[in-house]
């Protein structure tokens, strides 16, 4: 059997593919964070809790109302996005003129409250959520057994990332958003309702986190801690990509997923730290991140 660095080639290809799949989650989560930071200048630390809410709302829709995965893919981001809108209108909007640190502290506090509420209500053991029947099963790729659902996650995440990038970079709405970030009073003078636009942007960023949560529900344990485990890694991804750079976060998300996957083969004990080692190196060499503007 062919070997690469002492590892059988089929196993290595399998790990590359799995890394890409995990990268899809990182990309989707860091995309929401980058949108919120890039356009609102808020470091949204409650992103992990909102990811968890997305998964839990999907479970609630199924458990209490019998509404399945496909509807949850639409309804859960809408509902969680709505909570984001309320949060922005009632609390976050008061912090735009203050230092970033205030936004970070507020959203960190909010995430602790949200997770605490869910923990008290539902415990920590998690809730069962099954893969939809249309996406169950697996393909035999020769070098590994590839679950259909994981393939769906990669395709859907890519589609979402590209769509979001196109909306922000290539449409009139995106142009307004970018202009409002540079000079809000001027854009407002042209008759654009900037506060409403910012509120909806935060809601959309939160909805992206919830969407990732729904995608994660069938493969990870749906529990109140599920966001905590991911959010720190995702922040590192955003920092490496360049704070606020949408394309940077997406590419870095996929790239770091692959690096992490390879670490799981060569030195599994370091798989939780490798991303932070890369972050330190990148910050030393390029403080604005790989794709950020200094």
């Amino acid at each position: 059997m062919d070997e690469i660095f002492g590892i059988p080639a089929p196993l290595l290809f399998g790990q590359l593919l799995l890394g890409l799949i995990n990268g899809a989650f990182y990309a989707m989560l860091s995309l929401g964070l980058a949108v919120i930071f890039g356009l609102l200048n808020i470091i949204n630390f409650s992103h992990g809790a909102q990811f968890m809410m997305g998964a839990f709302v999907a479970w609630m829709l199924l458990h209490y109302l019998g509404i399945g995965y496909w509807w949850a893919l639409i309804l859960s981001p809408l509902l969680v996005g709505l909570t984001g809108v309320i949060l922005e209108r009632t609390m976050i909007c008061r912090l735009y003129k203050l230092d970033h640190l205030y936004g970070l502290l507020l959203t960190f506090g909010i995430s602790l409250i949200i997770e605490g509420i869910f923990r008290n209500q539902y415990g920590s053991s998690g809730m069962p959520y099954r893969i939809p029947t249309q996406l169950s099963g697996a393909w035999d790729l020769g070098f590994m057994f590839m679950p259909v659902y994981r393939g769906w996650v990669v395709v859907f995440a890519l589609f979402t990332c590209i769509t979001t990038w196109l909306v922000i970079e290539k449409t009139r709405l995106g142009a307004y958003l970018r202009a409002a970030t540079e000079n809000a009073p001027l854009v407002q003078a042209f008759g654009v309702n900037v506060p409403r636009m910012i509120t909806l942007t935060y809601g959309a960023g939160v909805a992206l986190a919830a969407l990732a949560g729904v995608l994660a529900a069938p493969i990870y344990s749906v529990n109140p801690q599920m966001g905590t485990n991911l959010i720190i890694v995702v922040f590192a991804v955003v920092v490496i990509g360049g704070m606020g750079s949408i394309l940077g976060s997406v590419l870095t998300g996929f790239g770091l997923g692959i690096v992490e996957g390879l670490t799981k083969v060569f030195y599994p004990e370091a798989s939780a730290t490798v991303i932070f080692i890369i972050m330190v190196i990148v910050l030393l060499a390029r403080p604005a991140g790989l794709f950020g503007r200094a």
Binding site: S124, G126, M144, S221, N229, S271
Partner: protein
Amino acid sequence: MQLSRRNMLAGAAATGALPLSLARAQAANTVRIGVMTDMSGMYRDNTGPTSVAAARESAAEFGASHGFRVEVIEADHQNRPDVGVNLARQWYDQGVDLIMDVPTSSVGLAVSGVAREKNKSYICVGSATADLTGAQCSPNTIHWAYDTYMLARSTGGATVRAGGDTWFFITADYAFGHALERDTSNFVRSAGGRVVGQVRTPFPGTTDFSSFLVQAQASRAKIIGLANAGADTQNCVKQAAEFGLTRRGIKLASLLLFVNDVHGLGLQTAQGLVCTESFYWDMNDKTRAWTQRMLRRIPTNYPNMIHAGCYSGALHFLKTVAAMGVPAAKASGLDLVNRMKAQPSDDDLFGKATIRADGRRIIPSYLFEVKTPAESTKPWDYYKLLQTTPAEEAFRPIGEGGCALVRS
């Protein structure tokens, strides 16, 4: 007496000091149990508030007729040894007489050291590592409900006997995972089996196990031993099903699985798994009656062997304090633990059980299989009993653990 300013001041001082001396007298007559547990992490349902409720149930049943008050306090150690050690020092210094539960083996071992240093009592229920009664045993510690050797012997032994002779371990990279992997590997090898590989996964913080499962599959082992717990085990089981490992004849040995994990996984995913516990709520009328009492305190979480252990351990502690008298019990944790070891524990959940010199409490262990959805007829009806290991065979023989207390 003349009403002078001096007399009035003395009277006021004496009146002021009265509540203080009363409080001192009350503290001297109050036995305090500190339940140190995971209130906010992945082991919360397996331990957590239900462990606290179990200790409180025990104190309530013990009653106030023994001439002393019982106070149960709680704290979250966040699964971190540094937090656990600081809490233990603070509690013991503030007059806590017994610390109990303490899940997460790295924290459990660290607290054992503090109990010894402060000459206090410690009943470890939540931690699994058999090192607590082996190389790192302490005269102030009793290990109450289960350990890694018991799990390895029961689940590991049964799996090897069923033909699973080649193993690959997915191991949580901390004291518990290492101990469970070591103990199970010993059983596999002594039964003629082989360990073909293992992977150590960072704890906490690993959510995706698919890479490790694919490595396990590539090793061509018949059995994947899950030397982890809680959400890690759940994620492994879920993802193994997703990647079709179980459909292709590879079996999972969930070396530590609680009834609460089965609830989290759902029977559709968990059916057919085998696991070992020393208690199941639906074993007999007494366990069912106790569970009903517990559900009045925590309605959403059924008790497992750790919760039952917290109840049983607290009860045995209180009975021993009543027998010794509060001043003697408070004076020396070592004397108290020796007294606890000298008499068998006896309660509705475990019956009579002896405690060995190394601190190991000896009880039977039960090998269960998770039911199919069709077999389950009521809420939390998850297990069917496959096999019982008698108390005297369930744990590591006392001479083999390397405990210094035994050699002396």
